[in-house]
Symmetry: C2
DNA sequence: TTTATATATTGACGTTTAGCTATATGTATT
DNA sequence: AATACATATAGCTAAACGTCAATATATAAA
């Protein structure tokens, strides 16, 4: 996963509603019809958010009759986590004596 | 760290330039005057990006004379990582028999 | 005290975004 | 075939965003 992919995922997670959607999906696959109840947004807006989450491949869809079931894409989530976890933070490298 | 904080950090990392800045800082503290050379943006734009990264507390500043030294905020980065790492992805919970 | 340098702020701009309403599409039921 | 329901798309609007040029602020050097 390269920086552009990561930026895209971050942009997707940068919206509070979408972050909450991802959290909700983190507890397992959900039908759009159930998800809509939890948010104060209209159906088209939810659909729009799901499209963005699918486009960055953070979310998968499974169609069952007229229902859409969304779930987290484990592979993408895992690659994203790896990338974030590699961002090192070395306190000792800060300059200045501080003494 | 709550969802709003995480969304703010993600929004900050959702811009390619800012993500690259964070990557650069991941190798240690940097002076703004050095950072500007690595990007094709003007000085005011860099300053603007740094302000956003500071506002979500992902980045710290240290002033030394007329130079500003930026570094990652270990505490925030760590809390952010924890949050992302808690996002579970359980492939088995997806519905459908698939068999 | 003047000049040079590093950074921040202001104000303007074109673009992107989240949200809505209205409508279209697809699927199941009657 | 007609109806009902779930979801997607289109088109719009207001707000937010990334960028820049111009200018202000702060510090160091001459």
């Amino acid at each position: 996963m390269n920086a552009a992919d990561v930026a895209l995922i971050c942009k997707a997670l940068g919206d509070s509603n979408r972050l909450q959607i991802v959290e909700m999906l983190s507890t397992g696959e959900k039908c759009a019809c159930k998800m809509i109840d939890k948010f104060e947004i209209t159906q088209p807006t939810l659909s729009h958010h799901m499209k963005i989450l699918r486009e960055c491949e953070l979310v998968d869809v499974r169609k069952e009759g007229k229902w859409m079931h969304y779930s987290l894409n484990c592979e993408t989530l895992s690659a994203f986590r790896d990338y974030i976890n590699k961002l090192a933070c070395d306190e000792s490298r800060k300059g200045g004596c501080g003494c």
